[in-house]
Amino acid sequence: MLHFTRLKQIAISLSVVLGIVLVIPSFFAKETVAAWPWFMPRAQINLGLDLRGGAHLLLSMETAEVRKDWLDTLREDARKRLREAKIAVAGIGIVNNALQVRVSNVDDTDAALKELKGLAQPTGNIIRGFSGTDLDVRKAEGGVILITPTEAGLQHRITEAISAAIETVRRRVDFTGTTEAQIVRQGSDRILVQVPGLLETAPLKELIGKTARLTFHEVHPSISAEEAKRTRPPAGYRIYPGADQEGDQLLRETPVVRGDELKSAQAAFDSQTREPIIAFTFNGSGARKFGDFTKTHVGRPFAIVLDDKVISAPVIRDAILGGSGQISGNFTVETANQLAIQLRSGALPAKLTVIEERVVGASLGQDSIEAGKVSAAIGGIAVASFMIFAYGLLGVFAVIGAAIHIVFVLAIMSVIGSTMTLPGIAGIVLTIGMAVDANVLINERIREELRGGRTPISAIETGFTRAYATIIDSQLTTFIAGLVMFWLGSGPIRGFAVTLTLGIMTTVYTAFTIARLLVVWWLAAQKTRKIEPPLSYRPPASLKAGSVRT
């Protein structure tokens, strides 16, 4: 244990130099580091939001909405398919999260079943392979066919919806001029939004809290919403509630054009009334659909619906062929701007709710960093004083090892780009105390061996060898706890788990290479043949057989 090949000595020394070099950028401002020449390391430790200040929002998607939308689309598809197959349908409805199709003629059931089975899509991906279909289509009693989304199918839809929502949220956040925002998926139906430097989150929440699904609908030509409420809406029509002062409307459920066919949307002012409005332009196909519709419906009203609420229902005066138009609807400048951003960034596939919010002001973050530095410094000094008091020169070696351990943790963190949080700093301070534990075990063992009558070299040798297994055992258990924390933890706790697990690895390395190498060098530097024991020790009180180590 007290021999290192030359190559190994060089390798260990180089690892220390490399560690120090990699840590350097983290002590300079980002701008300074960016200007450094190519051969210099530039990776810095990321500071978590709890240290630099900023907002952390966890959004959850209403998955029930995703399911409902899917069923709505399915209903249209089923109706279309059966019409093309010339199978008469008595009714299609959504009951208990499933689509119920009733054919007029019971003899058609099997033909309809065959048709409707065609709606199902295989689920699964290249990696996991084919794992069934997204729909369960089966025959029930009396000419009824039940179409139920499968769990796998629903999961697939949710995954797609989350991906789409992330894009939309990103566009909306970008429009606010915020840079550096991080938007990532979390779990199956959540999105984590992290915005450094943001303290007032209300406007951001307004912006991402609305689905902003814009649709243009045909108003029923003869029946009003009030009449429909008394009787029953005719097939294919539905009563939409009005927003603000708007009245309810009986509208055809399938929209003429949807918001995803918008090319642009801007907040503007109406040239006559001076009220804030949204000016929009459709893309090619949207303009064509809208043009065709307005051409045949001149003199009749149509409804502009936002998130299932009618925001206005103007009368078509002329065919609108250019594909551009405007929406008015009791906007203020602010809400018009907001809606324009939401329309430009596209609709969210389903509503998002904020289920967790953590906001830290930059001044508190700065205070936390300062407090962390002070605790680290004072904790370090206390530990160092204790080690040197108890173990003299070997204590100095342990302290050097512990200092290099911190350098290593910081170096690895900046290279792998992990984030430093306040609990992460606590983890580092904690591992300063733990780092020297290994040295305490080694040194106490050396002392014991000296007391047992071994020569200094033999005692050091045995001390390192015998303590090795004990140290590995004791560190691995903490390592296990750290891994579990990393696996299950979120945000700041994960930051703690990172510094803890990295710290344990580097601790073992520094105790067994750096501290040992320093001892080897010290031994080599001894001029005399007779080497003094490096630790003071009191000989055993009585030389009982049990206390002598052989």
């Binding site: 244990m1 190559l7 959850s60 303290l199 209300a202 709710t353 904020v354 289920i355 967790e356 919010e357 953590r358 906001v359 830290v360 002001g361 508190l364 936390s368 962390g372 605790s375 004072i378 904790g379 370090g380 204790f386 080690m387 008091f389 108890a390 173990y391 003299g392 204590g395 609990p423 606590a426 301070v429 105390g433 305490v440 075990l441 106490e444 002392r447 014991e448 090795y468 297994a469 055992d473 004791s474 258990t477 903490t478 390592f479 706890a481 750290g482 891994l483 579990v484 924390m485 933890g489 706790i493 703690f496 803890l500 490096p534 630790l535 003071s536 020790y537 009191r538 055993p540 009585s542």
Partner: protein, 333 residues
């Protein structure tokens, strides 16, 4: 004359304290503490933080001068948003405000109703008080965090159990886990007794504690195993006692170094990590106690295999040989 500072060998060696013989005192003490914790947890429960209870936490700071906590409490109580707790932290110019989870209404969902309550608080703070931190945790998330916290503690204990079992015999693993559960349970009980806030960072501390407090136990167990090989005929009581006494300096001193570092965190850290450092500090003390006084008596209870001469990988002579083998490999490179 060369000077070499060799440190001070201050820790008493050659102690032969009859710890195992007096085990009933310590077992009694541990049981008393455990029962007290159980009673506290059942009757009083824990002062859950916003992470586990839901609701919001608002940290505020006065721009100048101090904060009149009483006055602030009166103002916030008038808002009609249920239970609002105000607690002074730091040097008197900071306070933590906790708003309970609001009940959603017909128009406002959980998110909106909580945001409205927070806005009311912010509005009532006045000109001189700045908001420094807001944490809002909804009921779904808090329930999840609670569940994950429990899973994490159980999973790490299980991992540690497997590892100790793999390295030692099952008796050691079970004794270690019992000592560990003792530490964790009493630490949690302490949080109930002192009514300190129990949040996510405290769970992190307990997990770390689970890993760390076993360190000392492993040190003692390692020595027991070594001595089992050496003194084949020594009565188990005597052997356990010898092992505990021989490793006393190590068990105590490793804890001292870590406790020094954590103490610095406890004294100089911010409000955010107060619970964390307290849990660690208390845990280190109780962990050291249990390594010395609780773990080994359990071994006595379960009994251990006395014949370690078999071809076990775990025998110290073999691991020594392996160590030497490694060194020779290195030397020959």
């Amino acid at each position: 004359m060369r000077f070499l500072f060799k440190g001070v060998d201050f820790f008493p060696h050659d102690t032969r304290w009859k710890i195992i013989e007096r085990r009933y005192i310590f077992i009694g003490l541990s049981w008393a503490l455990a029962v007290l914790s159980a009673v506290l947890l059942m009757t009083r429960g824990l002062n859950y933080g916003v992470d586990f209870k839901g609701g919001s936490l608002i940290e505020v700071q006065a721009k100048s001068g101090g904060i009149d906590i009483g006055d602030l409490r009166v103002r916030l109580d008038k808002l009609g948003i249920g239970d609002v707790q105000v607690q002074a932290v730091g040097t008197g110019n900071e306070a933590l405000i906790r708003v309970a989870q609001q009940v959603p209404t017909k128009d406002l969902n959980e998110e909106k109703v909580q945001a409205a309550a927070n806005d009311k608080v912010k509005g009532a703070l006045g000109e001189n008080i700045d908001v420094r931190r807001i944490e809002v945790v909804g009921p779904t998330v808090s329930a999840e965090l609670k569940r994950t916290g429990v899973i994490a503690v159980v999973a790490s204990m299980f991992g540690i159990l497997l590892y100790v079992w793999f390295r030692f015999e099952w008796q050691f693993a079970v004794a270690a886990i019992l000592a560990l559960s003792h530490d964790v349970f009493i630490t949690v009980g302490m949080f109930s007794l002192l009514w300190y806030e129990f949040d996510l960072s405290v769970v992190a501390a307990i997990l770390t504690l689970a890993g760390y407090s076993i360190n000392d136990t492993v040190v003692v167990f390692d020595r027991i195993r070594e001595n089992l090989r050496r003194y084949k005929r020594m009565p188990l009581i005597e052997l356990l006692n010898l092992s505990i006494n021989e490793t006393l300096s190590r068990t105590v001193l490793t804890s001292v170094t870590t406790a020094l570092a954590v103490l610095a965190l406890y004294i100089f850290g911010t409000a955010v990590i107060h619970g964390f450092s307290f849990a660690m500090l208390f845990g280190i003390v109780i962990g050291t106690y249990s390594s010395i006084f609780v773990a080994a008596p359990f071994l006595l209870l379960f009994g251990v295999k006395r014949d370690w001469s078999g071809p076990a990988v775990k025998s110290p002579s073999k691991s020594d040989a392996a160590g030497k083998g490694r060194r020779e490999n290195v030397a020959s490179k």
